[in-house]
């Protein structure tokens, strides 16, 4: 950014006179609407005025002009995710930890992961009117494939968040774009309240110690639905498989999750699907079922995962 060009605006921002900065930038952008630096600066000033939606709009505009610009990409993350926590040193955040999909190609993402996001995308596409004018957050997004599926199939804008810096770096390269950005953040963090249209939290809540706090944080951040998946305790008992799910903290029954959503989020389950992923032997994981058996179905007695859409009651 050419600082001399923006000196008066930067001075206004530094002095806390955000209204003056916005007014000056309005004039600049009226004459030169494709000035991505101007849009970025105006977003900063608007964010400082707590005009989150206006700031967000300017940042997506800036990315339409320069999709790879690091400033707006980072600023979008900052707009929604705050109060970051330092990741614990003992956890393995590398791509090879076994916790994340690592392929930069959508076609090589495992079927169970893909199908969850495809269900979410089609549900959001049909339920949000119109989905392409919405912004969602993809919590624990891993290498970002799911955020990209949501953007491609629902048309929405996505902010993906993951604790692994390596995963986010790969996500930005492989799945980022002018409507999909990623940021690294380790939970617990704060999300800007009621700033997002929906949240997708697949394979996340079972990793979180304070799952009630996590649900409350997500609920406060989104105006629309929360879509989440979780391993079902009755078919994938945590105690029996704890050594195989080394980063999980617990599993849930469907009724437990229903109760949490109602109590913490004042939400009800509007749609639910079941999924089988693992071959089991004596209720312990014993490899994967074939990919064609991983499709989402109605919830059945043998469902190992539930994917739910939680809407405000």
């Amino acid at each position: 950014m050419s600082e001399s060009r923006w000196q008066p605006v930067l001075q206004s921002i530094e002095a806390g006179d955000f209204a003056a900065a916005v007014a000056a930038l309005d004039r600049t952008l009226e004459a030169a609407p494709l000035d991505s630096e101007g849009l970025m600066l105006r977003a900063v000033a608007k964010a400082a005025q707590e005009r989150v939606a206006d700031a967000e709009a300017d940042l997506w505009r800036a990315l339409a002009i320069a999709p790879a610009a690091p400033g707006p990409r980072a600023a979008l993350g900052d707009l929604f995710v705050r109060d970051l926590t330092e990741p614990p040193a003992q956890r393995d955040f590398s791509l090879g930890s076994g916790e994340r999909q690592t392929s930069p190609n959508l076609g090589e993402i495992r079927e169970d992961h893909r199908s969850r996001y495809e269900f979410a995308a089609l549900w959001l596409r049909d339920a949000l009117a119109p989905a392409h004018r919405t912004t969602g957050i993809d919590l624990f997004c891993g290498n970002g494939y799911g955020s990209r599926i949501l953007a491609d199939l629902a048309g929405c804008r996505m902010v993906g968040v993951d604790g692994s810096a390596d995963a986010v770096t790969l996500a930005e390269t492989a799945y980022g774009g002018h409507r999909v950005v990623f940021r690294q953040a380790y939970f617990p963090f704060a999300l800007t309240e009621r700033a997002l249209d929906f949240a997708v939290c697949f394979e996340s809540i079972e990793h979180v110690e304070d799952c009630d706090g996590y649900l409350a944080t997500v609920d406060a951040a989104v105006r629309g639905p929360i879509l989440l998946s979780f391993p079902i305790e009755t078919t994938l008992p945590f105690d029996i498989n704890a050594d195989l799910f080394r980063y999980h903290t617990r599993h849930f029954t469907i009724s437990e999750m229903e109760e949490k959503l109602a109590r913490i989020c004042k939400r009800r389950i509007a749609a639910i699907r079941g999924q089988v992923v693992y071959a089991l032997k004596n209720r312990r994981l014993n490899g994967y079922v074939p990919p064609q058996q991983m499709a989402l179905t109605a919830v059945k007695p043998d469902s190992q995962f539930a994917v739910v859409v939680a809407c405000r009651a």
């Binding site: 009226e30 609407p33 494709l34 709009a57 997506w60 505009r61 990315l63 339409a64 002009i65 320069a66 999709p67 596409r125 119109p130 989905a131 392409h132 004018r133 953007a151 491609d152 199939l153 629902a154 048309g155 929405c156 774009g177 002018h178 409507r179």
Partner: protein, 367 residues
Amino acid sequence: MAASKLIVTGDIFRPFRLGQRWESATWKNVRWLDGIAGTAARLAGWDVATVSWDPALRRSHGNVDMPAIYDALGLPLDRAGWVELLRRPMLPDAIERELLDLFDADLVVGYEIPDHLLRILSRAGIAVVDVILHPVRFLDDVVFALRTNRADIHALLAQHAVAREAIALQAGLIRSKAAWMRPPLPLRPGAALVLGQVGDDRAAIDTATGRNRSLADHAGRLLELCADSSMVLFKPHPYDPAQSDTGITLRRLQAVQWTNANFYHLIAQPEIDVVCALNSSGLVEAEYFGKAALWLAPPLYRFGDTAPADGGFGDALPQDGAWCNPAFWSAVRGAGPAAVLAAVRPNRLRRALNADWGFSSIDKVVA
């Protein structure tokens, strides 16, 4: 009944650069219209002549000495001079009289007659039929819309108007065909398509300012379209230079994806919600495919069914093939019915015009 005089003409003022010289941009249009409507009118008993800037024609042709007219107006014979001529509210009396002398007829039939000439002819009490290429190019043949300054002729045009429902049905057929075709490129729901236009098209001229309109004038609107759409495609006009203002602006919007895919194939895709252009015919077509049309400039012509009033012209009515037949021109003349000689045949006018605009590509058999 005595023969009535009918003159075939066109956009006589428009110059076209050919090497180091300027010639009429529309002499071919006049010859084309004479070949179809002129012949039909002759068979219906009209005494037909042509008037255009076309020194090669002889006998029943009135050549307009357009270089002399530009000279008399003090305008350069070039594109800028033409734009300035279009902007002038009136032409000098001497030039208007000179033009009227050439158009000494009961009826003038023209191919997209310029406003100055429409006004001069109408004020002189001459009946006019203006033949306009209709924006919908995807029917079994290209369609022309006709407008007139006479109520009786307008009533005849209304009898032969192409129904909107017929256009919608054909759009439905194209969508049906596209359903069997592989999508032209991966699309997201909520996508928008921007259409390029050439800068020297008459539709692109802003007569209020004399400037050529281009998409570059609407950079802010295009940015909003990007922010409001899941993806934005840009289909450049094949004749627009790579370094045009439009091209430069669209390249600055790096999120915009350029495509040369067939237009009809694109607008048949359910993911595309919006089609945007200055005032391209594609906007009219897109609406028949259920897309929202975003017009950045007003349309050049008013298509509809409003009848002429107070010496003005009615709306242009899209016509079936009747106007290519002697019977039509016999009716215009108020004479008895003449035989319908030319059977309707798909693509007759499209081939005669030697222009396709991408229709044949979507219409072909692919397997």
